[in-house]
């Protein structure tokens, strides 16, 4: 090899080729493996390793982010959680009382009264890390994992509405797929007409982020200002029913498309996520208190 202008030897191509091939090998292994990827255990180990570090970093940085909240004690935090819970339940009831009940008030009220609980049991958690936009996927890490009773395919919400679902749970942290991710599909129900549809994320977290709603019934239309709640799945996984998602911001209908398209403005502000709750079974036993619906004081370790 001829020496370069500066007299330094030319960089070896072999190293580059080797590293590129290694990258391609990792990509192939992970992409081909799908859910049973050979990298899943590595990912889980990395989660166990990085989760606590991210937790500590976020905890260290949080006082600077919210100086007024610096001297917040655990008790105050718990009280705040309880009030957040109460507000969430109240909001949900309000929602049922306005949009939905206008339509089928009798049935719904009966259903609500009949169901053992109007709300859900929640494991409180804080967001400790958020994937950068450069990675083009909208996921966050929360500081509750399997040790707190959190498992994949559980619903995550905050006091404004639906946040997303648990994708992967490690020991002390879990990864949550946000509603706005392009891979996220949620079944939604319109408050006014009870029509169901599928909500897809656009991959934006900006303040003006929108979700696309496609109604199942091609004849149905969405009205501007309509509220949308989750439709729910079997056994509440991955989404429990009745969690507010957002409001219809605009409706469009093109002749080419079979169904009406509506843009939904989510209730949750995805740029400033902090305190969230994971919907769990009320009997869950974990290392942190489970907030049960209807009660204003948190129950220790679930009853």
């Amino acid at each position: 090899m001829a020496p370069s202008r500066t007299g330094r030897r030319r960089p070896s191509r072999a190293v580059l080729v080797l590293l590129l091939l290694a990258s391609f090998a990792v990509i192939t292994l992970d992409a081909r493996g799908g859910d049973r990827s050979p990298l899943a255990p590595v990912r889980s180990a990395a989660g166990d390793l990085f989760g606590p570090v991210e937790d500590v970093t976020a905890s260290a940085a949080r006082p600077f982010a919210a100086v007024p909240e610096h001297f917040r004690s655990a008790d105050r935090l718990r009280r705040e959680l309880a009030s957040v819970r109460a507000r969430n339940t109240r909001l949900r009831q309000q929602l049922a009382g306005t949009a939905v009940a206008r339509n089928r008030a009798a049935e719904l009220d009966g259903l609500l009264a009949g169901s053992r609980s109007t709300g859900h049991s929640l494991v409180p958690a804080r967001v400790v890390a958020m994937g950068p936009a450069q990675s083009f996927s909208r996921t966050v890490t929360i500081d509750a994992g399997t040790s707190s009773g959190v498992h994949p395919d559980m619903t995550v919400l905050d006091d404004d509405g639906l946040v997303g679902r648990v994708l992967r749970a490690d020991r002390s942290t879990s990864t949550v797929l946000l509603l706005v991710d392009r891979e996220s599909v949620v079944g939604g129900r319109l408050g006014s007409s009870m029509e169901v549809g599928f909500l897809r994320g656009r991959g934006d977290v900006a303040d003006d982020s929108r979700l696309d709603l496609e109604l199942v019934d091609p004849g149905a239309t969405a009205r501007r200002g309509d509220t949308l709640v989750t439709w729910g799945s079997k056994d509440g996984a991955p989404y429990v029913a009745g969690v507010p998602i957002g409001r219809v911001a605009s409706v469009s209908r093109t002749p080419r498309q079979q169904s009406t398209q509506a843009a939904i403005r989510p209730f949750v502000d995805f740029t400033s996520l902090d305190l969230v709750g994971v919907v769990v079974d009320p009997r869950t036993k974990g290392d942190r208190p489970v907030l049960t619906a209807g009660s204003t004081t948190p129950a220790r370790g679930g009853r």
Binding site: S12, V26, E54, A58, A65, T141
Partner: protein
């Protein structure tokens, strides 16, 4: 010293990766529509400017794998590794020009940020992970480049100093 070197490198990379994902969560005001400064990329560029393409590409591979595997990442693993290997190699090839002037270093950071994010976005489009529209990628990439360039004057000099300190003695004469 020789036993210390890999430890310092690993600590540097882990720190960069963790700060990248955790700072955003704590300081939502620091991100612009979710875009945060790519610290791992700056570490790789700094390594390339001091140590050259081979070391930087190797470091880029490790840094990329950490970004790929550390929560909350959920994309196909290896995509950032690929992007940062390319970044390390490219930055190492131009280091004679980039080292002499501050402007040269900033241009290198801008070019590396553009190439790195683009390689990552393109690999995602090829793998449908997710099926990303080009318009969205084109909206994110310029912001990412600007953010990396804006942070480079503050982050790059200390990183360069660390890598010079870590350089094996026999090269330093």
């Amino acid at each position: 010293m020789s036993a210390l070197r890999p430890l310092v490198l690993v600590a540097l990379l882990v720190g960069a990766v963790v700060l990248q994902v955790s700072l955003l969560a704590a300081f939502s005001s620091l991100s612009y529509d979710g875009v945060v400064p790519d610290l791992a990329l700056l570490v790789v560029v700094a390594a390339a400017l001091v140590r050259g393409p081979e070391v930087a590409a190797g470091l880029g591979f490790v840094a990329g794998l950490l970004v790929d595997l550390a929560p909350p990442a959920d994309h196909v693993a290896g995509r950032w590794a690929l992007a940062l290997v390319v970044v390390g190699y490219l930055a190492g090839r131009v280091r004679d020009d980039a080292r002499t002037s501050a402007v040269g270093a900033l241009v290198t950071v801008a070019a590396c940020s553009f190439v790195g994010t683009s390689v990552f976005a393109l690999s995602g489009m090829l793998l449908h992970d997710p099926a990303l529209p080009a318009a969205q990628a084109l909206r994110v990439i310029p912001v990412a480049v600007l953010y990396d360039v804006a942070l480079a004057p503050f982050v790059l000099p200390p990183l360069l100093r660390v890598f010079r300190w870590l350089r094996p003695r026999e090269v330093a004469y």
